[in-house]
């Protein structure tokens, strides 16, 4: 990867974050919780995407982001009202932006038609005439429109300013002649990042009366002029009341891409904080909400940039200037560093090795006869504490909030709902819940499935809901929480619940259930996870291909997880998914089989027992079953299935692990000795070798040797065909 590509990759990573922020901000606005800072954050996100795209010459993305940005700038300045219908358009615009970013990332093309129609819609809003196609409510359409592109060309909009101090004592000590001099010389890189000097100058214009002087002394003759160079600089004089921070903020996006000096014209550059605050107050444009204006009027020179009178009512409707720029400058971004995940994996490997080494050392110290109270043994105890501490901290580095998965879901919900004509509101909780990155990557698919299912099957259509006395809009709740050392994901809808009668009938019709079986309600609900089960009346492309939930359950179980559903007729259903917090470690039962040490995942073990000889009954030529409390469970000799020994041992001489395998059946695995339970670090066999049938992965034990982790489902399946296929010799024969 060359350097530019690397920077580009970083840009796209940032885009993901920015798009997440954008959507989060818009959702806040949709919920009516957005303040002016939210609008600013939304604007900044789109602006940053545009800026980066410009630097990489991603023209299609720049063009689209520019239109989007222009509209948001209008909203930010208050010339366009952030009405609910506009926010909905903005949400869809954000989806299209995500598509455009994706297209740029893969060098592909986004859906041109979709983009074009979105651009048309956005432009209509900028022009103040939302498209007829939008279900626009009167106020937005009827509002006095700013002239087209006004937001961009003539941008003297409302800017939130500090009003934190309720009783402002009149102070008139601001030196009359003092003023700011700002010299601003853009570098070529500023333009390359799709910023423009004009916008910045207009931004300054918002702060108060300005005097701008252009310095074109560096401008070469036309034949020597390079079109991509920067030759111009400006000197801007501002009123003394303007807050220095406000000036600096105007240049926030071009930091490093220009030469900038900000100085006071006279010596009076020390002012009290209060005076600075007042100064920023005075910079608030006059057409703010009336009470504010009255209060500050005696102090403030009327800003020169008076907006057209017609637009005043709209501005009044804009979010109240609840907080000032100086006071609430957006929360400082969380300091983070980007690290190549491979480096962390390497660190985790090394720490795992350290833990093993420490254990070996401790073992040797005991072997050499040191007493537990000796200095050496005690020092080793401390070392153990430290290594465990390091291990926990290193694992915590890889822990990530589930937010990265959750933030994709609102869009999915919107799309699914609009495809099938349902109304849905997605409520998300616990987005900050942390889980290992190995698990995060695997959460997306099951959550997507559960969510689609909840909207497609769970929720009723708006008319059905009204008939049932519910609001037409269905609510789906997506929540993440920690419970008992696992992460639990719940997807809950307030729909009709599972029709148990129908589910039962379908299961019987498809031969999945005996007609006279007696099942609890819960068992009936969970029939939907059976392979080949589908209750959808019509096969849609959203869910209901009959490969849905059983596939989800299998993939979840493969990760050591569980999934279940519970339902309340008429009130809704809840999917509950639980997974281990990390896929890097596993709780296992360490057993000996024919001289080999194996680890059996604890999640699949129901119980371990020592069978009596009379409980073992032969069945057929080679098979045997074990009687466990009135039911018969097939016996599987792990040693002979894996080819560790030729003939099976008598189960009564060893121990039996009763396990549950993927289709819900049970089996009894025969092993020689149980060594104990242990948490083991999972190591891939495929990384350097290949998959081995019957073995899920490997791990390293305290003595430094590799032990194999048993794939319970595979071993049970291998047992079934064991009589006719002498597997090991086939492989060895090449």
């Amino acid at each position: 990867m060359d350097e530019l590509e690397e920077i580009k990759a970083t840009f796209f990573q940032e885009c993901d974050e920015l798009l997440g922020d954008l959507e989060a901000g818009l959702l806040q606005m949709e919920a009516g919780e957005g303040d002016s800072e939210t609008v600013n954050a939304v604007f900044r996100a789109v602006h940053s995407v545009k800026g980066g795209a410009g630097a990489f010459g991603l023209d299609a993305l720049v063009r689209y982001a520019h239109v989007f940005e222009t509209l948001l700038d209008g909203v930010r300045s208050g010339s366009i009202e952030a009405a609910p219908e506009l926010v909905r358009v903005l949400l869809r615009a954000a989806d299209v932006l995500a598509d455009e970013v994706q297209a740029a990332r893969t060098n592909g093309r986004a859906d041109e038609h979709e983009t074009a129609s979105m651009v048309a819609e956005l432009e209509a809003w900028i022009a103040g005439e939302p498209l007829g196609a939008e279900p626009v409510v009167a106020p937005a359409a009827a509002k006095p429109a700013a002239p087209p592109a006004a937001a961009d060309e003539d941008d003297f909009g409302f800017k939130p300013m500090a009003v934190l101090i309720p009783d402002v004592a009149p102070i008139d000590e601001a030196p009359a002649k003092a003023g700011w001099t700002v010299t601003f010389k853009p570098a070529a890189s500023l333009y390359a990042k799709a910023n423009e000097a004009g916008r910045l100058l207009r931004e300054l214009g918002r702060l108060g009366p300005v005097e701008v002087e252009l310095d074109d002394a560096d401008l070469p003759p036309l034949d020597a002029l390079k079109p991509e160079e920067a030759y111009l600089s400006w000197t801007v004089r501002l009123e003394p009341e303007v807050d220095e921070q406000a000036i600096r903020d105007a240049f926030e996006f071009v930091d490093g891409d220009c030469e900038l000096t900000i100085s006071r014209e006279d010596g009076a550059n020390e002012e009290t904080d209060l005076a600075a605050l007042l100064a920023s107050l005075s910079a608030a444009p006059a057409p703010g909400p009336a009470p504010l204006e009255v209060e500050i009027a005696p102090l403030a020179p009327a800003p020169v940039a008076v907006a057209p009178v017609e637009s005043a009512p709209i501005r009044a409707a804009a979010p109240a200037p609840a907080a000032g720029r100086a006071a609430v400058d957006h929360a400082p971004p969380q300091a983070t560093i980007r690290v190549d995940p491979e480096r962390i994996d390497r660190l985790i490997d090394l720490v795992g090795e350290l833990v093993i080494n420490q254990a070996m050392l401790a073992q040797r110290v005991v072997q050499h006869g040191f007493a537990p109270s000796s200095d050496i043994a005690m020092g080793l105890d401390e070392l153990e504490q430290l290594t465990r501490g390091i291990q926990d901290s290193v694992m915590a580095i890889r822990a990530q909030p589930v937010k990265s998965v959750f933030q994709r879901m609102p869009r999915l919900a919107r799309e699914v709902a609009s495809q099938i004509g349902k109304q849905v509101r997605l409520v998300m909780e616990g987005e900050g819940t942390e889980v290992d990155k190995t698990v995060i990557e695997r959460l997306s698919d099951p959550i997507t499935h559960m969510l689609r299912n909840a909207i497609d099957h769970g929720l009723e259509t708006p008319s059905e809901r009204i008939a049932a006395g519910k609001p037409p809009e269905g609510v789906v709740r997506l929540a993440a929480l920690h419970r008992g050392g696992r992460i639990v994901i719940e997807v809950e809808d307030d729909g009709r619940g599972i029709n148990r009668q129908r589910v039962r009938q379908i299961a019987i019709d498809k031969g999945l259930l005996a007609a006279d079986a007696t099942l609890t309600d819960e068992e009936v609900d969970n029939l939907i996870f059976l392979p080949g089960f589908s209750t959808a009346n019509a096969v849609s492309d959203i869910s209901g291909r009959g490969v849905g939930m059983d596939v989800v359950r299998r993939s979840v179980q493969a990760l050591g997880g569980r999934i279940s559903i519970s339902s309340r007729p008429g009130e809704g259903s809840t999917f509950t998914l639980s997974l281990p917090l990390t896929l890097a470690v596993l709780d296992g039962m360490v057993v000996d089989v024919a001289g080999h040490t194996l680890v059996v995942p604890l999640t699949s073990i129901i119980e371990s027992l020592r069978p009596k000889p009379e409980d073992v009954r032969p069945l057929g030529p080679t098979g045997a079953v074990l009687a466990v409390r009135d039911s018969y469970v097939p016996l599987v000799d792990v040693g002979s299935v894996l080819g560790f020994r030729k003939s099976s041992v008598a189960p009564s001489e060893g121990v039996v692990l009763l396990v549950e395998h993927e289709d819900g059946g049970r089996a009894a695995l025969v092993a020689d000795v149980i060594q104990g339970q242990r948490q083991v670090v999972i190591k891939s066999l495929e990384a350097n070798y290949r998959q081995v049938e019957g073995i899920a992965a490997a791990t390293i034990l305290g003595d430094g040797r590799v032990a194999l982790i048993l794939d319970v489902d595979a071993v049970v399946a291998m047992r079934r065909r064991e009589p006719r296929a002498p597997e090991p010799t086939l492989h060895a024969a090449e």
Partner: protein
């Protein structure tokens, strides 16, 4: 490694020579990551007989291939002199179990002769060529051919 083929004949490269029984073989030093003593491997079920199993290489699971068995030679008991040559081929690491490391050679490409017809197919497919040095015959292993077999078996 494949890029060695492209080298001009005058460029020198280094090889690590080792013994299997009475015979001498070598591999390109650029593919060798480390050489370590023998430690007992954990056998893997359902694998060809030339796979001795896996060992712990500083936290990674390293498969061990008995090179003698792979070449169809009689396998000998592992001794204290037995070594594992850890090589890297296409992002995969594998340990080759051999009897002992014997030499480091510095050769030019023109010293390598083609493998004569007499050898059996299996040996010929794993040998890149023969090197004569001080009266010894040393065969260079085509390491990239040792491993694709693993993938074919997995399929």
């Amino acid at each position: 490694m494949n890029e060695t083929h492209a080298q001009s004949t005058s460029e020198r490269r280094e090889l690590i020579a080792f013994c299997i029984g009475e015979q001498e073989y070598c591999v390109d030093i650029m593919a060798v990551r480390e050489i370590r003593g023998w430690s007992p491997a954990t056998p893997l079920p359902q694998t060809p007989d030339y796979m001795r199993g896996v060992i712990n290489l500083r936290g990674a699971v390293l498969p061990i291939m008995d090179l003698a068995a792979r070449l169809g030679l009689p396998t000998s008991e592992t001794t204290v002199r037995s070594v594992i040559i850890v090589i890297k081929v296409d992002e995969r690491m594998v340990g080759l179990l051999v009897d002992a490391v014997s030499d480091i050679l510095s050769i030019t490409e023109d010293l390598i002769q083609a493998t004569p017809d007499v050898a059996c197919d299996r040996v010929r497919s794993f040998i890149r060529g023969l090197i004569t040095m001080e009266g010894r015959m040393i065969s260079e292993i085509a390491i990239e051919r040792l491993l694709p077999e693993l993938e074919a078996l997995a399929a």
